[in-house]
């Protein structure tokens, strides 16, 4: 098993983000996580990315328990796990080429990382990844000059360039138009398929999740509601997942015809 969570729960201060999650994902599986806002999708991904330690329960990734490792060994494990952020945290003044090359910092020695700042070590490799995402012409542009969707693609390019064994994606296409989102998800899936990478993505667009991922997990209020192959997910299950009893759309008030003509 690449990923094994047993009774893992997570607290952020007073908020219980995840309740006793049990989850097993095998090598090379491609999984989508769906659920309403605040359901715990991001928290689950942070748990899987070793960004946060579980409050209780156990996490096992690539057959090791990250939180029982020394800090150095955990950093080496983290280099094998890539996380695509919803809003990629990239310094505005950094060039795209540097931002993408930074994906391999976990595999490089510190000295190599510093030399790479003076002169980018692998421009062809970066260009190849960016080309697959339609961003090749932006390679020497500063990140601050990119749009939200372009930044997301730089974030994806960095994670692909990292060549991790587990690829986690937190809403990777939320700032893209439908065509680009489709293309980027295809690129991600193709990359994962070709290299046998385990891909786990949280998505708010259900139809994208069902179309691109063989396995779909529904999360609600910090618990797994269903975990099925995409073909078995029914519309009843989706309705149950997204049902919101607190949210009642207020009836639209009639526009009050109370014209005030300003006198100048």
């Amino acid at each position: 098993m690449t990923i094994r969570l047993t009774g893992a729960s997570l607290r952020h201060g007073q908020v219980q983000a995840l309740h006793g999650i049990d989850l097993q994902i095998g090598a090379g599986e491609r999984v989508a996580i769906i659920g309403p806002s605040g359901a715990g999708k991001s928290s689950l991904l942070q748990l899987l990315g070793t960004a946060l330690a579980p409050s209780t329960g156990a996490v096992e990734l690539l057959d090791v328990a990250p939180w029982r490792l020394s800090a150095g060994a955990r950093q080496r494990l983290r280099a094998r796990i890539g996380l695509i952020h919803q809003a990629p945290p990239l310094p505005p003044r950094q060039r795209v080429v540097t931002a993408v090359l930074a994906g391999r910092l976990g595999q490089w020695s510190t000295l190599r990382g510093l030399l790479n700042l003076l002169h980018p070590a692998d421009v062809p490799g970066v260009r190849e990844v960016l080309t697959s995402l339609g961003m090749a012409e932006k390679i020497f542009v500063q990140c601050g000059q990119l749009s939200g969707g372009q930044l997301q693609r730089v974030g994806i390019a960095r994670a692909l360039y990292q060549q991790p064994q587990i690829l986690l994606a937190d809403e990777p296409v939320s700032a893209m138009d439908p065509v680009l989102a489709e293309h980027s998800l295809k690129t991600l899936n193709q990359h994962a398929n070709e290299r046998g990478v385990t891909l786990i993505a949280s998505l708010h667009a259900v139809e994208l999740a069902l179309a691109h991922f063989p396995r779909v997990i529904g999360v609600r209020e910090g618990r797994i509601v269903f975990d099925r192959p995409a073909s078995e997910v029914s519309s009843d299950m989706l309705d149950g997942l997204y049902a919101n009893e607190h949210l009642v759309s207020p009836p639209l008030p009639l526009p009050a015809l109370n014209l005030q003509i300003p006198r100048c």
């Binding site: 960004a51 950093q75 080496r76 094998r80 976990g106 990382g113 700042l117």
Partner: protein
């Protein structure tokens, strides 16, 4: 009608705060024995007038200008060498003291653990110690130790300024957006790499601006230390003042103005390149 509408609820507290500030400042003025009236007494006025009237025209004999150039270069050299030595200590110390590079904080949403905080304390304490003694005091000590001359000034600046630079650098690192560095740490990068790729790009302009400003301060400090025998422009001013050579003092003050202006231009240029 307008009076009620335009009433600012913050007006009364502001007036009261202003009155409180004045009430607190007044005893301060009494305690510091400030008495501007002294300036206006007839004797003092005449003294000042003769001294100031000698300011124009500023001294510009070739011999004096050569002396001035030498002294200026010496002052610049003292400031620059002192800053370089200070940076050698300040940069590693700021990296150690800054919470921005804590691996533990990166995986706890920015909160530090007990050990992360405790182990940073000695570095912070060292920086506090280095900057708590004014550079002029260090200069007096070093003049005793290594004798009159610029060496004392260089060492004094190096010690005091490493404390100031280290503290402020560490705080600049903490004040920029931490998410890029945390993201890199979570992808397995080393802490130094995370610093260079995640923090430095955002902090560079601020760091350069502060460093150039500190260099400007170091120039002024090296002048002051000249008065206690650490060479450079300060020593020349001291001599000229003792000889009531107002013209020479005026030339040297103009040189100061030029140096500070140049430092300002340099800072602006560098910031413009980095912004």
């Amino acid at each position: 009608m307008l009076k009620v509408d335009s009433r600012d609820p913050a007006a009364l507290p502001r007036v009261l705060l202003a009155l409180l500030a004045i009430a607190l400042l007044w005893p301060g003025i009494r305690l510091s024995e400030l008495n501007p009236g002294v300036l206006l007494q007839a004797d003092n006025r005449r003294e000042m007038a003769t001294f100031l009237s000698a300011f124009w025209p500023p001294a510009h004999e070739p011999d004096f200008l050569r002396l001035l150039l030498d002294a200026t270069l010496q002052t610049l050299a003292v400031a620059t060498a002192g800053m370089t030595l200070a940076l050698l200590l300040a940069i590693p110390a700021s990296l150690l003291a800054s919470r921005a590079l804590s691996l533990r904080a990166a995986s706890r949403g920015g909160r530090l653990g007990f050990w992360s905080r405790t182990l940073r304390l000695p570095v912070r304490a060292l920086l506090i110690f280095l900057r708590s003694v004014p550079e002029i005091v260090w200069a007096l000590l070093f003049v005793r130790a290594v004798g009159l001359g610029p060496t004392a000034g260089v060492l004094a600046i190096a010690i005091t300024y490493s404390g100031m630079l280290g503290k402020v650098y560490a705080e600049i690192f903490e004040s920029v957006d931490q998410r890029p560095a945390h993201a890199l740490l979570q992808a397995g990068s080393s802490r130094l790499s995370a610093f260079f790729y995640g923090i430095l790009p955002a902090a560079a302009a601020e760091l350069v601006s502060y460093t150039v400003y500190r260099w400007e301060c170091a120039i002024r400090a090296s002048v002051v230390m000249g008065f206690v025998g650490a060479g450079g422009l300060g020593q020349q001013i001291d001599l000229s003042m003792r000889m009531f050579a107002g013209a020479e003092v005026a030339s040297m003050l103009l040189t100061f103005l030029l140096l500070v202006w140049l430092a300002d231009q340099l800072s602006r240029l560098l910031r413009g390149r980095l912004a």
